[in-house]
């Protein structure tokens, strides 16, 4: 790297109300490099991005150099003019507008009204998409596009703004593997064109695949800068958490216990077909596969949210047919959704009310009225049982961290005393450190005789925590593995192939 670095930061600190979000952090990104910024939630990643893009101002003493030029102060406008763009996780696009309008959105900005040059906007949009090597219908309403294509729109929008440095905040969080591959190849294209890309991602595998170097932050401090080549996932996890995890295969032999949930030839057109398996009492059955393999769709059918076109589901030896998820809950099936923010919990409501939402009948006392005592008792019991760290039960749900929120989702469903617990990507948005706590609970539950279906797209997670693993691809089950007889690399090769 002989040319001036794209970003050269020294002594960056930021204090929020006495809390040191960043302490004397240095950060360098080379020109044309693909750099990864890694760290747990709350480590200061997003604060750092916001300082570089001018959203926050650093504490005095900071040195900021962007593309060789020193800045005393950065504002969002200065950052944009310097060629910095951020692609936020929620993309910040406009669903009701067309693809062309979204990409060339820069053209309508500014407080002084001007005529909109529709033709020019289309031309700019086309040019940006061409640079990415992507073809999209310019007149399609953005809201009708799948997430992966919206992502391309967001990247194209950054290019129209002549961005030379693009930050991508968790860009692959909701992409399928093929889509992720397409995105990574676009990132390579950009990199070849001299655009610098800084990736923020929790998916360690792809971080190591794409990045040249990795900067690791922990608790607002710089841990170090490492070459991606030769780095392992385990080592990176240790650097991020500051703890060593001796991950070992937790699988046990459960072949002796009788099945609690049996699925035979289950099919739903356009989603999955001919799915057959048995989940035993006390077993953690892993179900892995890429996003789009039909895992969540299968879970939705088992939970009664949608109806199958063919096949049977047997619970405790009795065939069941759910008309809605209420039937499924009554029959003893619980489902922890992958979308905790929107579907798992009701964020603005209290912790206590969230915890009892699925078991309102249980807190109903005499005369059919809800009882505060019963509610308090139930909440206290589960908070203690699962070790959820809360302030007051009356606090809003969104005051809890991701890990504690997920524990509360578990508490909510365990209160229904299920026979089968379906966990759909239970560690999304949960810190690496807190994940272990969740899986300890999962193990305990299995030991108590619960049948657990663990769905995840992170192969290692399934490998270390399940007793048996089903591999799903293209809507079918294509393989079954025993973690004790399979190395994680073999499994990864099979799934990511």
């Amino acid at each position: 790297m002989t040319s001036a670095p794209a970003i050269h930061l020294r002594h960056i600190s930021k204090v929020f109300g006495g809390v040191k979000a960043l302490q004397d952090v240095d950060f360098d990104v080379g020109m044309g490099e693909v750099h990864c910024l890694a760290g747990e939630n709350g480590c200061g990643k997003s604060t750092l991005i916001k300082i570089i893009t001018g959203v926050y101002q650093p504490e005095p003493g900071a040195e900021i150099e962007i593309f060789g030029q020193r800045y005393a102060q950065i504002t969002p406008t200065v950052a944009r003019k310097a060629g910095i763009a951020v692609i936020w996780q929620d993309l910040a696009l406009f669903a009701e507008m067309t693809v062309a309008e979204n990409i060339a959105f820069e053209a309508v900005l500014g407080n002084r009204p001007r005529r909109v040059r529709h033709a020019e906007m289309r031309r700019d949009a086309t040019a940006a998409l061409d640079r990415l090597g992507v073809h999209l219908d310019l007149d399609a309403r953005l809201g009708t596009l799948p997430i992966a294509e919206r992502q391309m729109v967001a990247i194209a929008r950054a290019l129209v703004g002549e961005a030379r440095l693009i930050f991508m905040d968790e860009p692959t969080a909701s992409l399928t593997q093929t889509e992720t591959d397409a995105l990574l190849s676009v990132v390579r294209t950009l990199s070849a064109q001299g655009v610098t890309v800084v990736f923020v991602s929790h998916r360690l595998a792809e971080v190591l695949e794409i990045a040249n170097r990795v900067t690791v932050l922990r608790d607002g401090r710089l841990v170090g800068v490492y070459l991606a080549e030769g780095m392992t996932q385990t080592r990176l996890t240790e650097l991020m958490t500051g703890k060593t995890f001796d991950q070992h295969v937790a699988a046990q032999d459960t072949a002796a216990s009788e099945p609690v949930l049996e699925v035979q030839g289950l099919t739903r057109k356009g989603e999955f077909r001919d799915i057959s398996f048995a989940l035993r009492r006390g077993e953690v059955l892993g179900l892995t596969g890429l996003i789009g393999a039909g895992r969540t769709e299968l879970a939705h059918v088992l939970f009664g949210m949608t109806r199958p076109d063919a096949g049977t589901v047997t619970l405790d030896g009795r065939p069941v047919r759910f008309r809605s998820n209420r039937d499924a809950v009554a029959a003893g099936i619980a489902y922890v959704s992958e979308d905790r923010l929107a579907l798992g919990l009701i964020q603005p409501q209290s912790i206590s009310d969230n915890a009892v939402l699925a078991v309102l009948k249980k807190i109903t006392g005499g005369a059919g009225l809800l009882s505060d005592d019963r509610q308090e008792g139930l909440v206290a019991h589960w908070v203690r049982e699962l070790g959820v760290k809360i302030g007051k039960p009356g606090d809003a749900m969104n005051t809890l961290s991701g890990g504690n929120q997920q524990k509360l989702v578990l508490a909510k469903w365990l209160a229904t005393q299920p026979k089968v617990l379906i966990l759909d990507c239970p560690t999304v948005g949960v810190d690496v450190g807190a994940r272990a706590g969740i899986f300890r609970i999962v193990r305990d539950l299995a030991a108590q005789g619960l049948g657990i279906l663990l769905i995840s797209d992170e192969v290692t997670e399934v490998h270390f925590n399940a007793d048996r693993i089903l591999h799903m691809a293209g809507g079918r089950i294509v393989g079954e593995y025993d973690p004790r007889q399979t190395r994680v690399e073999e499994l990864e090769a099979a799934v990511y192939a």
């Binding site: 969002p76 406008t77 944009r80 936020w88 929620d90 993309l91 910040a92 696009l93 406009f94 669903a95 009701e96 507008m97 067309t98 309008e101 959105f105 053209a107 309508v108 900005l109 500014g110 407080n111 009204p113 001007r114 005529r115 909109v116 007149d139 309403r141 799948p146 909701s174 399928t176 356009g270 989603e271 996003i291 789009g292 039909g294 969540t296 769709e297």
Partner: protein, 330 residues
């Protein structure tokens, strides 16, 4: 055509329904498809359309305004006194004064919404009560007939004798057309207009892109207020009197028509064509019932039933029925 259907699905549906309705009425009653009837429909509904395009801008920006019809009444009263004070005035002064007063009232809404972060429905319900209460209190509910002659005299822009009588187009229709074109240009062809759509669609995204939120609220509610003031001026031209209670309650009818025309509560969607068609559907239905000899008391009932029916079917997306379900998650 294909693009029109895709970009304006609710407008297209509404247009089809309106055409069917018109065809039916043309066959059922000889009086419907006459110049006299159609021009009087236009004359009588121009005020509603002016309000509708003003409200549309607020809806696009993600807000709602309950106060505009009452604001129009307030503007009418102030105008009477202003014109008396300046010794008469004329249409040019009238439009500027009414538009300016209406805009000021709209800006009050915008200020409260933006400065104190109160949502628009709370603010406009408050100002609805405040405007109306103060108007009734100060005027004691008096009717005013002493309008300047230029204001109360009907201005004929075009007339023609037909076998059914005189057909004519009056000034409010021309003003309506100007308001429609101006609003269309604002929301479709200026950068400000596109920012309004973006702001209504995704406020957080708009804020991060550097769009000034306060400016957006001011433009949306200011425009709506200006249209309300102009509509008030035109309303008095048609009725030749100023009555404080005359316009209250119209806000909800206009809201229903605008939403029927494809605008969305919550922002980001809506068009001038839809506004016009929404008002037209309600007007043609009432007109048709009238011509068919149905009791005037039944009009509103039928209109209400039609809107209820339209809402109940609006979620049945024809496109979704023919295209296969998309695989995987949305």
């Amino acid at each position: 055509m294909r693009n029109f259907l895709r970009s304006y699905p609710s407008e297209a549906k509404l247009l089809v329904v309106l055409l069917i309705l018109c065809t039916l009425l043309a066959f059922l009653t000889p009086d419907f498809l006459t110049l006299v009837n159609l021009t009087s429909l236009l004359n009588n509904n121009s005020v509603n359309v002016i309000w509708a395009v003003g409200l549309l801008v607020v809806l696009i920006a993600g807000g709602i305004d309950i106060s505009f019809a009452v604001a129009a009444s307030v503007v009418q009263y102030i105008c009477v006194y202003v014109f008396a004070a300046i010794g008469g005035g004329n249409w040019a002064i009238g439009l500027i004064v009414a538009g300016g007063l209406g805009m000021s009232l709209g800006l009050i809404n915008a200020f409260l919404i933006h400065q104190f972060r109160i949502i628009s429905i709370v603010v406009t319900i408050s100002t609805f009560n405040a405007f109306f209460g103060l108007l009734m209190f100060i005027t004691s509910g008096r009717f005013l007939y002493n309008l300047p002659s230029w204001w109360s005299k009907a201005v004929y822009l075009w007339e023609k004798e037909t076998p059914q009588g005189w057909a004519d187009i009056r000034l409010p229709v021309a003003v309506m057309a100007v308001c429609m074109v101006a609003t269309w240009f604002l929301i479709r062809h200026t950068t400000t207009g596109r920012q309004l759509y973006a702001f209504g669609d995704n406020p957080e995204g708009a804020r991060r892109a550097g769009i000034s939120i306060g400016l957006m609220q001011a433009i949306a509610f200011g425009w709506c207020g200006m249209m309300a003031g102009i509509a008030g001026l035109m309303q008095a031209n048609i009725t030749k009197e100023v009555v404080p209670m005359a316009l209250i309650g119209r806000e909800l009818d206009v809201l229903a028509a605008v939403v029927l025309g494809g605008a969305r509560l919550g922002g980001g969607r809506g068009s001038i064509l839809g506004c016009f068609l929404g008002v037209a559907l309600v007007a043609v239905t009432q007109n048709g019932l009238n011509l068919l000899g149905v009791s005037p008391y039944a009009f509103k009932m039928v209109v209400g039933a039609i809107i209820l029916l339209a809402i109940s079917t609006s979620n049945l997306d024809l496109a979704r029925l023919v295209t296969p379900r998309r695989k995987g998650r949305e």
